[in-house]
């Protein structure tokens, strides 16, 4: 494991595109949360500050960060695609790695990147949350913090899907284009299914791990949060937000999809010539 991790570290850290995309990812995320924090909503009774306070920030920041997961997936596809283009997967096997090692190395990479983005969001949440929340309590701080772990699973979900695309098409540009195209394609395919079934498609499940925050509730300066900690303004009920699966079930299905993406990637690398 340590050896595979070291190999991936050498391969990634010396790759200019990796460094560039990671810097873009980091800067864009902080830029977006900073710029949004400066917005002033002119609607009386609403303030953007509510999104930056505990516990709302645990929902808002992972949701913002989820949009940038595409960068992380492109980084992953680029690195795996390079292995095929430079025929270095083949060389690694010639030198003594097994085909399983190749996949394990990339999964370690995915895990490491997911930890990085987890830490990035965690630090951002703590900084912005502590600055913007008044009368903070420890319980308030931890409330909904589990959403960050759900975001971690989402990052892994997107990247394992990217890994599958890279393994299937073995070409960086083609894999990235098809991965991006898969978003609208799955959206169109979903239209042919009943509302109930639409919620179970892979991208739908993975994207729903960080659901769109109830911005209206969070930005409201009136406290609509009931004694159970949930919003008393049920926007789903009035049709503003679509009804989704419970988060626990979504996590479970997403984990199943992640396992499926990894399993197919393993089969592909074992069955096909390098």
């Amino acid at each position: 494991m340590k050896k595979l991790f070291t190999l991936e570290r050498i391969k990634a850290l010396s790759y200019p595109a990796f460094k560039t995309l990671m810097i873009i990812h980091f800067v864009l995320f902080f830029l977006v949360v900073l710029v949004v924090s400066r917005w002033h909503i002119t609607v009386p009774g609403f303030s953007i500050k509510g999104l930056y306070q505990f516990p709302n920030i645990w929902t808002f920041f992972p949701w913002v960060a989820s949009w940038f997961n595409i960068f992380l997936t492109i980084v992953l596809i680029t690195l795996v695609g390079n292995e095929f283009s430079f025929r270095t997967f083949r060389q690694n096997v010639i030198d003594g790695l097994s085909r399983s090692d190749l996949i394990t190395g990339k999964l370690l990479f995915i895990f490491t990147i997911a930890i990085y983005t987890f830490m990035m969001v965690l630090i951002a949440v703590l900084i912005f949350g502590l600055i913007n929340t008044k009368d903070i309590t420890f319980n308030m701080m931890l409330d909904h913090s589990y959403l960050l772990f759900v975001y971690f699973i989402q990052a892994i979900g997107y990247m394992t899907l990217g890994l599958l695309f890279a393994m299937l098409f073995r070409n960086t540009a083609l894999s990235i284009i098809l991965f991006i195209l898969y978003f609208p394609v799955e959206g169109i395919i979903r239209l042919f299914f009943k509302q109930e079934a639409r919620r179970f498609f892979p991208l739908k499940i993975i994207s729903n791990l960080t659901p769109r925050p109830e911005v209206l509730t969070m930005a409201s300066e009136t406290d609509y949060t009931g004694p159970t900690g949930t919003s008393q303004l049920d926007f789903s009920e009035i049709g503003i937000l679509p009804e989704e699966l419970p988060l626990g079930l979504t996590v479970l299905i997403a984990t199943g999809y992640i396992g499926f993406f990894i399993a197919i990637s393993i089969i592909l690398i074992n069955k096909r010539n390098l």
């Binding site: 050896k3 070291t6 190999l7 050498i10 391969k11 010396s14 790759y15 200019p16 390079n82 430079f86 025929r87 270095t88 083949r90 060389q91 690694n92 096997v93 010639i94 030198d95 003594g96 790695l97 097994s98 010539n273 390098l274």
Partner: protein, 295 residues
């Protein structure tokens, strides 16, 4: 002598295309074994299968008398086809990856770069090297971990005469150290100068194997003319004089066995009632013999 590699009836297809068919041969310890054949004859496929890069469709192979495993792979240094390295990494970083994979000490990197005469370039990106340097870099990577066996596929591919000589010098030096070397090439001169044994492949089939000296001997070829050349050809074929007899334009080409001389052939023809009107003796080049074998 210990058998390093034993291949039994190995076959590999790419869809409907037969790449190799029932190829069998053995490589013994200390041999420099050439796999010779024209482009597309199955040399690279054979090596790719025995190195676990491609899956065989039939047959089997053993390294050191055992099935191929990860541990055995580390006893083999391999260069297959073009050099495959990360172009954005330096030579040192690329070899560090190889050393990590092979669990070899980092000291090996400087040694290998030194042997390949690339020590001064250790901090240059691989992508910035010339073709000759890239090929030498491949040789350096093969040496990491001090493997017992070197498997080299076209190691002088695309090199100029100087680069060719440099790589050949490295191979010969490794052979002198007692390493077993398996060298695939379509360049006869390369095999002749470096190898002790060879297998010759043609269209995926093994057509000959053995000691290079026996496979590609420098026997004399005698070009003769006489009346009724067809009848004389049959007589010579039935005799013990020649290893090969064939028509070449107006002449009959007779490859004499090394124990016979052209005068023996002339005497034989005269005694059989076919006096020769022309007799020209030529030493057959290795290239002629190779082309004849793979024709």
């Amino acid at each position: 002598m210990e058998t390093i590699l034993k291949i039994n009836n190995l076959s590999k297809n790419y869809g409907n295309i037969r790449a190799i068919q029932d190829v069998s041969f053995e490589v013994k310890k200390g041999e420099v074994y050439g796999i010779l054949g024209p482009n597309g004859s199955g040399k690279t496929t054979t090596l790719a299968v025995v190195l676990g890069i491609l899956q065989a469709n039939g047959g089997n192979f053993q390294w050191f008398g055992e099935p191929f495993t990860k541990q055995i792979r580390r006893r083999i240094g391999s260069l297959v086809e073009t050099p495959n390295f990360y172009p954005y990494l330096t030579l040192w970083e690329n070899l560090k990856i190889v050393a990590k994979i092979k669990d070899a000490p980092e000291d090996d990197i400087n040694y290998a770069l030194g042997v390949a005469n690339l020590l001064k370039r250790k901090h240059t990106n691989f992508g910035h090297l010339s073709l000759g340097m890239k090929q030498r870099m491949s040789m350096a990577s093969v040496l990491i971990g001090n493997p017992e066996v070197l498997v080299l596929d076209e190691p002088t591919n695309g090199l100029d005469p100087e680069g060719f000589a440099e790589v050949r010098h490295i191979i010969q030096a490794q052979a002198q150290e007692g390493k077993t070397i398996i060298l695939a090439s379509h360049i006869l001169d390369e095999v002749e100068k470096v190898c002790s044994h060879a297998a010759i492949l043609k269209s995926g089939e093994l057509i000959a194997n053995g000691k290079v000296g026996e496979l590609l001997s420098t026997d004399e070829t005698v070009y003769i003319q006489a009346e009724k050349l067809g009848e004389l050809m049959v007589l010579i074929q039935d005799s013990d004089l020649a290893t090969n007899v064939y028509k070449e334009e107006e002449d009959l080409a007779v490859v004499l066995k090394s124990i016979y001389k052209p005068t023996d052939l002339s005497k034989f023809c005269y005694e059989k009632g076919y006096p020769l009107s022309k007799i020209v003796v030529k030493k057959q080049s290795l290239e002629d013999q190779f082309l004849q074998l793979v024709k």
